[in-house]
Amino acid sequence: MTWFQNNTDKVVDLLISHLWLSALPIVLGFVIAVPIGWYANRHRRVRGVLLSVAGIFYTIPSLAFFLVLPSIIGTGYLDPLNVVVALTVYAVAIMVRSATDAFESVSPAVLDAATAAGFASTGRAFRVELPLAGPVLVAGLRVVAVSSVSLVSVGALIGVSNLGSLFTEGYRTDNNAEILTGVFGIVIVALVFDALIVLAGRLLLPWARATRTTEARGLARLIGGGRA
């Protein structure tokens, strides 16, 4: 506690970069993956290929991913962009699977009813399918958020400042209070993001909460979840 009190400014700075580095991939991942998942759900042939590709990207170990990106996208080795791009790829990989499941969970009878009620296909996608897919999308986004927040810390190894820098520095200076501050900070950020997503889900989707079965399915599917 004393270490934290004496170094509040530094921790706050690292916290702010941690928030940026994790929030960007979460938002980008969601925005990119939802249309892909929607498309994949409609085109069965594309679906298998897309999900396999997502699985392959998700398999890549993070530190190795951070370090091959400069050769692919031409960034410097210490560029924070490497972390953002890699985590966005992971977020898309997790979210495409969730989004496909989410759109699949929408009953075809409801879609027929919407068409019969006069919805054009764009209107139907945004005003019927998207809200009904909401609960499963929220469940997927929660997994993305927690794993992104935790993975950002690996970026400290390639010199990208964030709360994970407290681990590398704390280790070098033999300071366990500093390391613990980082651990608690990251867990708190993860819990806050998670709570915000749940809250947003309740506000935007007041009629539905993820049922036990979707949660259990999510658990079965995402066993393990986070990558190091």
Binding site: A64, L163, F167, V183, I186, V187, I223, G225, G226
Partner: protein
């Protein structure tokens, strides 16, 4: 462009393929850490997961452990543990085991949970003991998900064992990444990263095949109880 050709040079340099710091030795070390970790973690997590799934008790534990532990940053646990164990492999193995437990536990639990209740009731009705139900009905039917848990745990451990090279003790493929960064040897960094990625993809492929095999052999125990 030059990094790519430097990396190719690195791969074709025979000194990188022999001795303590050669690819074969580092690869064996990496696989050794992974295997040791998975063995220890499986011995702890799978029995607990099977017990939770079979009895339905302490379900919350399986859900919480797979959720909350995911938020725990691995690098933090690793550096914190190593301040107590000193440099060397102990902190790394401890961290890796801790990480491997939730997916294994969740796999065993979710696997048993996925078994149709009627099948279990049928097994009980034909006079199977609880032990037989677990061994002959539930585990075979749950096998694809149990292997799924092993798959995530293994990939998680392969990835984290790379990060564990931040601590001076452990060898493994992470040495190329961490030492290469420290020496600004980009070819070594990229070559090491490529090896780690290929290893992860190959292991993942093996587990996909195992899961398919387990799915294919699934019909046998069902016929037994019919």
């Amino acid at each position: 462009m030059s990094v790519v050709s430097d990396t190719i040079d690195w791969f074709s340099d025979s000194t990188n393929w022999s001795g303590e710091d050669g690819v074969p030795h580092r690869l064996v070390e990496h696989l050794g850490y992974t295997a040791l970790t998975i063995l220890i973690a499986a011995a702890i997590a799978i029995p607990i997961g099977l017990w939770i799934g079979h009895t339905g008790r302490l379900r919350g534990l399986a859900v919480v452990s797979s959720g909350a532990l995911r938020a725990l940053p691995t690098l933090g646990v690793l550096t914190y543990a190593s301040l107590f164990t000193g440099i060397g492999i102990k902190a790394a193995i401890f961290t890796l085991v801790l990480l491997a437990i939730p997916p294994l536990l969740a796999g065993a639990y979710a696997g048993l949970e996925s078994v149709d209740r009627q099948t279990i009731d049928a097994a009980r009705a034909i006079g199977m003991t609880e032990r037989q139900i677990l061994a002959k009905v539930e585990i075979p039917l749950a096998l694809p998900l149990i292997i799924g848990g092993l798959r995530s745990a293994t990939l998680q451990v392969v990835a984290t064992a790379t990060v564990a090279a931040f601590i001076p003790g452990p060898g493994g493929l992470g040495r190329y990444l961490i030492d290469g960064l420290a020496l600004r040897d980009n070819a070594e960094v990229v070559a090491g990263s490529v090896i780690v990625i290929v290893l992860a993809l190959v292991l993942d492929g093996i587990f996909v095949l195992l899961q398919r095999l387990a799915l294919r052999n699934r019909s046998a125990p069902v016929r037994l109880s019919a």
